[in-house]
Amino acid sequence: MRQQLRSRRAPTFPHGYRYRLDDQDEVNQNYLADEEEEAEEEARVMRVPNLEEEEKEEEQKEEEEGQGQPTGNTWWQKLQLMNEYLWDPEQRMSLARTGLILVIYFFFYASLAAVITVCMYTLFLTISAYMPTFTERVKPAGVMIRPFAHSLNFNFNVSEPDTWQHYVISLNGFLQGYNDSLQEEMNVDCPPGQYFIQDGNEDEDKKACQFKRSFLKNCSGLEDPTFGYSTGQPCILLKMNRIVGFRPELGDPVKVSCKVQRGDENDIRSIHYYPESASFDLRYYPYYGKLTHVNYTSPLVAMHFTDVVKNQAVPVQCQLKGKGIINDVINDHFVGRVIFTLNIET
C-alpha cells in the first residue's frame, strides 16, 4: 500500500521530461523562434496536472529571482536588464522579438501615415488655393501704419537726425515697391471710383492697379526725402490689412480720419491727407489673393501732421470711416483704427 502511495507521483516525472524533450526537438527543427515560446508554454500547461511539485519549485525559484531583482535599482542591474532585453542568451530570440516589434510598429505607423496623408489630401481638395474657405476671422480689416519700428510711439527730436533717421529709412524701404517706374511697368492704370473686378477662372493671373508713390505728394519722399521729419511735420502712412475678396460696401470708398485720441483736440491743428480724398480708392478692390494677384500693392493713405503741439506726447487715433466699417472692437486695437503717439521735440 505504501509503495503504491509513493509511486503515485513518481512515474510522472520521466513522462514530463520526455514530453519537454520531444517538444524541444520538434521546436528546434520546425518552429520559428517566436513560436517556440508558445509551444513551451503549451507544454507547460499540459504538464501542470502531473507536475505540481516541479511547478512549485519553479515558482519558488522564480520568486527567489524576483526577490533579487526588484531591489536592484542600481545602474548595473538596469544595464544587465537592458542587455538581457537586447540579447537573452537562454532564449536566443530577443533580437528576433525586437525585430518583430519594430516591424509591427513600422507597419502600424506606415498605415497611420497613409491614413493621415489621405486625410490631409482630402483636406486640401476641399480648400481652394485662391480663396480662403472662411474669412470671418480676419475681418473686419486691421489697420497698420508705416514707418513701424516695433513701437507706436514716435519720439524724435527735430534737431537730432539720429532720432528720426530710422523712420525715414523705413519709409523709403517700404515705398520702394510703390516707385512710379515700377508701378507703371508692372501694373495697369485702371479707372478710379469703381471696383476693378476681373472675372474669369480662379487660377488666372490677375492684374493689379497702380498705386504710385507720387500719389502721396509731400509724403512721397520725392520732394522732401526726410518725409517732413526734419521739420517736425512727420508723415505717417496708413494701410488697411489685405483681405481676399473684401469690397467696401455700396461703392463708398473707405476714408481715413485722424484726431487726438485723448486730451486737447487742438493739439493737432492740421493734418494733410494724401491722396487728398483721404480714402482708399475702390479700384484697388477686390483683392484676389497672393497666388494670382501677384503684383498687388496695398493702397495707402498718408497723414501729414503739419501742425502738432511740440514737446509733448500727443495720442493720435486714426480711424477708418465708411459704411460697414467697424472701428471700435474693444479687444483689438488694430481693427479699423490705429492709435499712436507723437512726441516731437524741438
Binding site: I116, R242, L291
Partner: protein
C-alpha cells in the same frame, strides 16, 4: 493518477462519514461532555489557551505552565509538557525577539500580584474601603492622576497633516513646482518689462487652484469614509455601579478609578480590571481576551499565580454572563491587560496596501516620464536658442500636459464608490485603499467561530434505536427528516424538553424560532430550539409536566436531573429525566429503550460505544439522555423530593438516546470556500478548538475538501504509523498550536507552501501573528479575520485585517481595515470579487487617462521644435483632465467584469496596475491615433482660415509678436495680433474637442480588455453613457456657453469641426476591436503577451 485514489475513501455524501474510524480519539468524550459542565472542560481548555497568550505576556514566570489538573486525563499531561517545550521553542525563535522585547516591557509595567493579596492588603494598597468605597474627592483626585478609564484611541494623524499630505502627495508636488516656476518666470519677465502679460501668473494660480481643489476633494472623500467608521465604532457609554462614599452610585465607566468598588451582574461588560471580593455564580466570557469561548467561573478565591487564570480576576472588556460579583478596580484604561494588548497592536507596522503601491508606481511612471520629457525638452529648446524663460514655460506646459490632474481624486471617488457598494453587502471598508487589497489576497486566515460557523450550538445528530439520525443544521432548521414515529423518540423528546432550564425571553411571539433570544447556555439553547421546532410550544409542554425537583448541572455530577409530574392524568407516577456526559449516564442505566420498549442494556453497550465514538469523531459535543418512571407506590404524589439528600434513585435508569451538537458551518460557507479556491485563494482555518472539531468543521465547510486527506487519514487508511507517512502526500494538514510552537520558521514556511488545505487548531490568537508572518514570508497577500482584542496584532500585521462587526471587539475593529457587518465568511468572497473588479477597472481608467497624454505633449513639441502656433494651451489641457475626463473615469468603475474574475488566480505582486503593454498600447498606439486626429482638426481649422500647414512651419515667432499686426497668411491676407490670437484659441478649442471626440471612442474601447465591446454589450454600463454625455455637454458649454470668456481661451467652434476627428474615433474603435480579436484568437501568443494590458 489522481492524488487520493490510492486510498479510496467511501463515497461520502454527508461529511459525517468521511472518517473511516476514530481510534486516536481516546479522549473524544471531552468534547462530548455536557454543555453545562463548565468546570473541568471549560477551565481546562481555557487554561491551556491562556497558556499561549500568557506565554507571550509573562514568559518570565515559567511556573504559570502548571496547568490546573482536574482529572481530565492525558491531554493535560501532554499540555504540561508542551508548555515547557513551547517555551523553549519560543526562545529559539529569533524572529520573535523584538516582539518579545516589546512585550517584556509591558510585562515589567504589569506587575500584577493583586490577586494574591488579601482583601485587607488590597484596601491598604489602594487606600480604599471595601464597604464604603472611595470618597468622591479621592476618586476625583485619582481620575485626574490616571485619566479616564478608557482605551486611548489609536494615534490619529492630525487632520491638518492629513490635509497637507493630500496637498503634496501624488502629482501635486509636480504641479506646485510648475506653479512656482510660473511665478518665477513672471517675476523675471516683470523685472525686465513691467507691462508683460499676466498669463503666467494666471497659469500658476490655476495650477495651485487645481492642487488645492483636488487635494481638498480627496481629503473630503477620505474624511467622509472615515466618518462612517467613526460613527460606527461609537459606543453607547457604559455605566458602572460603584460604591463611593458608602453609597451605590451609577457612573459612566469612564470615570472609574483604581480602588473603586464596583458591582457587576450578568450581562454587564466588565468596566475595568477587577479583583473580585465576593461573587455569586459569576461566569465571565473571556473570549475577547483569550479567544476562549467557554464561559468561565469567577469566584473570590486565589487559584492561580497567573493573573489571567486565577479565578478572582475579571478583565476589562470581557463580559459577565451570569451571576453577581463585587470587586475592586485595580487597573483602568490603558494599563488594563486589554489596553496593553491593544497598544501592542499599534506597535505592529502598518504596511502599504497593494493598490497604494500600484498607484504610487503609476505616479512614478507618469512623473518620471513627464519630468524626463520636460528636461529633454528644456535642453532642446535651450539649445535651439530659445530664451531660458520661454524654455521654463515650455517645461511647465509639458509637465502639466503629462500629469492627469484629476485622476487621483477620481480614484478616491472610485474606491469610495466600491466601498459603498461593499458596505451594502456587509463589508465595511475602513481604509479606502483596502478595497482592492481583498482582490489581490492569496491567503485568507479565517476564524472558525462565528465566521465560518453560525456561532451557536445546533443539534446535528441523534442516536436512538441503535441508529444514527441526522438533524438539519441549516440556519432555519426547517427540514427535520429523521424518523419521528418511534416510541423511543417520544421519550427522548420528552427528556429533551423537560430536562432543560433554558427559556425563551418573553415577548418574542412573532420572531422565528431560530432567531428568538434564549436565556440559558449554548447547549440548552440548542436543545430548546430543536425541540421547539419539532414539538411546538415547549413552554406549554413544560407547564403540563410540572417540575417538582431539579438538580442543576454541576461539574462533579456531570449530569442534570429533574423530576416532573406527567401530563397523563391517569399516570400518577413521577418522571425523572436526566441528561449528561454519555458515560456517566450509561453508568446509571441498566436498561435501554429500543423502539419504545425497555430492554436490558448489555447487548447494546457495544453499539452505544460505536455511536458515541462516531459522533465524537465528528467533533460534536455528545449528550446522553435517560429517564425513569418512579413507582407510584414508593413515590406518592405528596412525596417530597430533597435534592440535597437525593431521596430518590439515580441508578438503574433507562437509557434512551444520544444527541450530538455542533456549531455548524453557515450554509453559505461551503460555496464561498469553493469560490475562494477556484479564485486561487488558499483558505486557512485558525481556531482555538480541538483539532477533531476543527477538522470536522473544516470538512463541512469545504476547507478540507472531500477527497483530500491529512497525514493521519492516510496513516489510518494504510494502517501504518503517522510517522511513516510521507508528509507531502497529504494535501491537507491539521496542525495544532503545540506542533506550531515547535516549528522553526522554515518548517512553517514549508508547511504553508506544501499543503493546500491547512487547519490550525488549538492555536492561541497570538499564534495567528506567527502564521500571518509565515504566509507573508511566502509572498502572499494575507487576509486575516478576527474578533478578539488579542487578534488585533495579527489584524494589523495582515495585508488586510477583517474584523467581525457583531462579535468583534473595538480593539479588533480599530486594528482592522475592514469590518464584516454580518460576521459572514461569504461576505469576504464578495469583497474579493469587488476588489478584483476594481483593480481591473482602475487598469482601464489608467489606460484611458494615459492615452491622451500623447495628444497633449505632442503639441508642445511641434510648437517649440517645428514652430507651429500653439495647438493647445496648458489651461485647455486642464479642461480635459479636470472637465471632460472626470465622469468617464468614474464611469469605468461601474464596468462589469469581462469574465468570471473568480476563476483566475490572485494577482501576482509583479502584475502591475500599469504595466508595459498598457503604457505602450495607450501611448504609442491609441495615443498616436488621437494625436493625429487632433492635429488633422487643428490643420483644418488653420487651413480653412487661411494658414496652410506649410505656412505654419516656423511661424511661431512672428505669430506671437504683439506689434506685428499685419502678418500675412497663405493667401496674402494680413492678420492683426488679436485676430491671430482668436484663431489660436479657435485652434485650442478645436484641438480640445478633437481629443474629446476621440476620448469618447477611447472610453468605449476601454470597457473591455479582451472581449469585444459587442460581447460585453455596448449599453451594459449606463454610466459610461452618462460619462459620454457629460463629455459632450462640458465641451458644448465650454465652446458655446463660455466661448466669450477670454480667460478660458475657448471660442465658438464651427459645427463641422466637431466631426473632423470622428473618422479617427472610429479608427480607434476598429483598431481596438482587431487587437482584442487577435488576443482572443491566439491566447498566450505573442500578440496576447504584448498587446493585452
Amino acid at each position: 493518477m489522481a492524488p487520493g485514489s490510492a486510498c479510496p475513501l467511501p463515497p461520502t455524501p454527508p461529511p459525517s462519514r468521511v472518517l473511516c474510524c476514530c481510534t486516536r480519539w481516546s479522549s473524544g468524550h471531552q468534547e462530548g461532555e455536557p454543555s453545562g459542565q463548565r468546570g473541568p472542560a471549560g477551565p481546562h481548555t481555557s487554561a491551556q489557551r491562556c497558556q499561549y497568550c500568557t506565554l507571550v505576556l509573562f514568559q518570565k514566570t515559567p511556573e504559570i505552565y502548571s496547568v490546573e489538573l482536574n482529572g481530565t486525563k492525558d491531554i493535560d499531561k501532554t499540555d504540561k509538557g508542551d508548555g515547557k517545550e513551547k517555551y523553549r521553542g519560543l526562545k529559539n525563535k529569533p524572529s520573535n525577539c523584538k516582539k518579545n522585547h516589546q512585550i517584556q516591557e509591558i510585562k515589567e509595567e504589569l506587575d500584577l500580584n493583586d490577586h494574591k493579596l488579601s482583601n485587607e492588603d488590597l484596601e491598604k494598597k489602594y487606600g480604599t474601603n471595601i464597604i464604603t468605597g472611595l470618597s468622591s474627592a479621592r476618586a476625583a483626585e485619582l481620575l485626574a492622576r490616571d485619566g479616564p478609564n478608557a482605551l486611548s484611541p489609536p494615534k490619529e494623524t492630525p487632520e491638518t497633516v492629513k490635509f497637507l499630505k493630500q496637498m503634496v502627495g501624488g502629482f501635486s508636488i509636480l504641479l506646485w513646482i510648475g506653479a512656482i516656476l510660473c511665478w518665477v518666470a513672471y517675476g523675471i519677465q516683470y523685472s525686465n518689462d513691467p507691462s508683460s502679460s499676466l498669463d503666467n501668473v494666471y497659469l500658476g494660480a490655476v495650477l495651485v487652484l487645481v492642487v488645492i481643489l483636488t487635494g481638498t476633494f480627496a481629503y473630503y472623500q477620505e474624511a467622509k469614509s472615515t466618518n462612517i467608521i467613526a460613527s460606527f465604532s461609537k459606543m453607547i457609554p457604559q455605566q458602572a455601579l460603584v460604591i463611593r462614599d458608602a453609597e451605590k452610585k451609577t457612573i459612566p465607566s469612564e470615570q472609574l478609578v483604581v480602588g473603586d468598588i464596583v458591582e457587576i451582574k450578568g450581562g454587564d461588560q466588565i468596566p475595568a480590571d477587577i479583583r473580585l471580593l465576593s461573587s455569586q455564580g459569576c461566569k465571565v466570557d473571556n473570549s475577547s481576551l483569550t479567544g476562549e469561548s467557554e464561559p468561565q467561573v469567577r469566584s473570590c478565591d486565589f487559584t492561580h499565580d497567573n493573573p489571567l487564570e486565577t479565578k478572582n480576576m475579571c478583565f476589562y472588556s470581557t463580559t459577565c454572563l451570569e451571576g453577581v460579583a463585587t470587586g475592586m478596580v485595580i487597573n483602568t484604561g490603558d494599563s488594563t491587560i486589554i489596553g496593553q494588548i491593544a497598544s501592542l497592536a499599534s506597535g505592529v507596522g502598518d504596511e502599504k496596501t497593494p493598490i497604494a503601491i500600484e498607484i504610487e508606481h503609476f505616479v512614478h511612471i507618469v512623473a518620471g516620464v513627464s519630468v524626463s520629457i520636460g528636461i529633454i525638452f528644456f535642453i532642446i529648446t535651450v539649445s535651439m536658442k530659445y530664451p531660458v524663460l520661454d524654455s521654463i514655460i515650455f517645461l511647465i506646459g509639458v509637465i502639466v500636459a503629462n500629469v492627469p490632474e484629476g485622476l487621483l481624486a477620481t480614484v478616491t471617488v472610485t474606491l469610495s464608490l466600491t466601498a459603498k457598494r461593499m458596505a451594502k453587502k456587509n463589508c465595511l471598508v475602513k481604509n479606502l485603499e483596502a478595497v482592492e487589497t481583498l482582490g489581490s489576497t492569496s491567503i485568507i486566515c479565517s476564524d472558525k467561530t462565528g465566521t465560518l460557523t453560525q456561532n451557536r450550538m445546533t443539534v446535528a445528530h441523534l442516536w436512538f434505536d441503535n441508529q444514527i439520525f441526522m438533524a438539519d443544521t441549516s440556519e432555519d432548521h426547517s427540514n427535520q427528516i429523521f424518523d419521528q414515529s418511534s416510541g423511543t423518540w417520544t421519550s427522548l423528546s420528552k427528556i429533551i424538553t423537560l430536562c432543560n432550564r433554558a427559556e425563551f425571553k418573553p415577548g418574542q411571539e412573532n420572531v422565528p424560532i431560530m432567531k428568538k433570544t434564549v436565556i440559558g447556555d449554548a447547549s440548552e439553547t440548542a436543545l430548546l430550539k430543536f425541540s421547539e421546532v419539532i414539538l411546538g410550544d415547549v413552554m406549554e409542554i413544560r407547564k403540563r409536566n410540572r417540575k417538582v425537583a431539579e438538580i442543576p448541572f454541576n461539574s462533579t455530577n456531570k449530569f442534570q436531573l429533574s423530576i416532573h409530574e406527567t401530563d397523563d392524568p391517569n399516570d400518577k407516577r413521577f418522571l425523572m429525566v436526566m441528561k449528561g456526559a454519555p458515560e456517566r449516564i450509561l453508568e446509571k442505566c441498566s436498561t435501554i429503550m429500543i423502539n419504545g420498549q425497555e430492554q436490558p442494556l448489555d447487548e447494546s453497550r457495544a453499539t452505544f460505544h460505536t455511536a458515541y465514538m462516531e459522533l465524537g469523531g465528528l467533533g460534536e459535543r455528545v449528550l446522553g439522555f435517560c429517564h425513569l418512571y418512579l413507582p407510584a407506590d414508593e413515590f406518592p404524589e405528596t412525596y417530597s423530593f430533597d435534592v440535597d439528600t437525593m431521596n430518590f434513585p439515580t441508578s438503574n435508569l433507562c437509557f434512551v438516546g444520544l444527541l450530538s451538537m455542533i456549531d455548524p458551518p453557515r450554509s453559505t460557507v461551503p460555496n464561498a470556500v469553493t469560490r475562494c479556491r477556484s479564485a486561487g485563494i488558499k483558505v486557512i482555518m485558525v481556531t482555538g478548538d480541538h483539532p477533531i472539531t476543527a477538522k470536522a468543521i473544516a470538512r463541512n465547510a469545504g476547507i478540507i475538501s472531500a477527497n483530500s486527506e491529512t497525514v493521519e487519514d492516510i496513516a489510518k487508511c494504510l494502517n501504518i504509523a503517522v510517522e511513516q507517512v510521507n508528509k507531502w502526500d497529504a494535501k491537507a494538514a491539521v496542525v495544532t498550536g503545540m506542533e506550531l510552537k515547535d516549528m522553526s520558521p522554515e518548517q512553517l514556511d514549508e508547511l504553508l507552501a506544501n499543503h493546500s488545505e491547512i487547519v490550525f487548531a488549538r492555536t492561541s490568537p497570538q499564534q495567528k501573528l506567527i502564521i500571518v508572518e509565515g504566509c507573508q514570508r511566502l509572498g502572499a497577500v494575507v487576509a486575516v479575520t478576527g474578533d478578539g482584542v488579542n487578534d488585533s496584532p495579527a489584524l494589523k500585521k495582515a495585508d488586510i485585517g477583517i474584523a467581525m462587526g457583531i462579535a468583534g471587539s473595538d480593539a479588533a475593529k480599530n486594528a482592522a481595515d475592514m469590518v464584516l457587518l454580518d460576521d459572514n465568511f461569504a461576505s469576504i468572497v464578495t469583497g474579493v470579487e469587488e476588489g478584483r473588479l476594481i483593480f481591473d477597472n482602475l487598469k482601464k481608467t489608467m489606460a484611458y487617462t494615459l492615452t491622451k497624454n500623447m495628444a497633449m505633449v505632442f503639441p508642445f513639441m511641434l510648437y517649440t521644435i517645428v514652430g507651429f502656433p500653439l495647438p493647445i494651451a496648458t489651461v485647455t489641457t486642464l479642461f480635459i483632465d479636470l472637465g471632460t475626463d472626470i465622469i468617464p473615469f468614474i464611469a469605468l468603475a461601474y464596468e462589469k467584469a469581462e469574465r468570471d474574475i473568480m476563476n483566475r488566480k490572485p494577482r501576482h505582486k509583479k502584475d502591475r496596475l500599469v504595466n508595459k503593454p498598457l503604457v505602450l498600447y495607450s501611448l504609442l498606439h491609441v495615443g498616436v491615433i488621437v494625436t493625429l486626429g487632433a492635429f488633422v482638426v487643428y490643420f483644418t481649422v488653420y487651413a480653412q482660415a487661411g494658414f496652410r500647414p506649410s505656412t505654419l512651419i516656423g511661424l511661431r515667432v512672428k505669430w506671437e509678436k504683439d506689434d506685428v499686426n499685419d502678418l500675412e497668411d497663405s493667401y496674402g491676407q494680413e492678420w492683426t495680433r488679436y485676430q491671430r490670437q482668436y484663431l489660436e484659441w479657435t485652434g485650442y478649442t478645436a484641438f480640445f474637442i478633437a481629443i474629446m471626440v476621440q476620448q469618447i471612442a477611447n472610453l468605449i474601447i476601454r470597457k473591455t480588455r479582451r472581449n469585444s465591446i459587442f460581447q460585453q454589450g455596448l449599453f451594459s454600463n449606463k454610466v459610461i453613457w452618462v460619462g459620454i454625455a457629460s463629455q459632450i455637454i462640458i465641451a458644448l458649454i465650454l465652446s458655446y456657453g463660455l466661448g466669450s470668456v477670454t480667460a478660458l481661451n475657448c471660442t465658438m467652434l464651427r459645427v463641422q469641426y466637431w466631426f473632423v476627428a470622428l473618422p479617427y474615433a472610429i479608427l480607434i474603435w476598429v483598431y481596438d476591436e482587431v487587437r482584442k480579436l487577435f488576443i482572443r484568437l491566439y491566447p498566450g501568443g505573442w500578440w496576447d503577451k504584448n498587446m493585452y494590458y
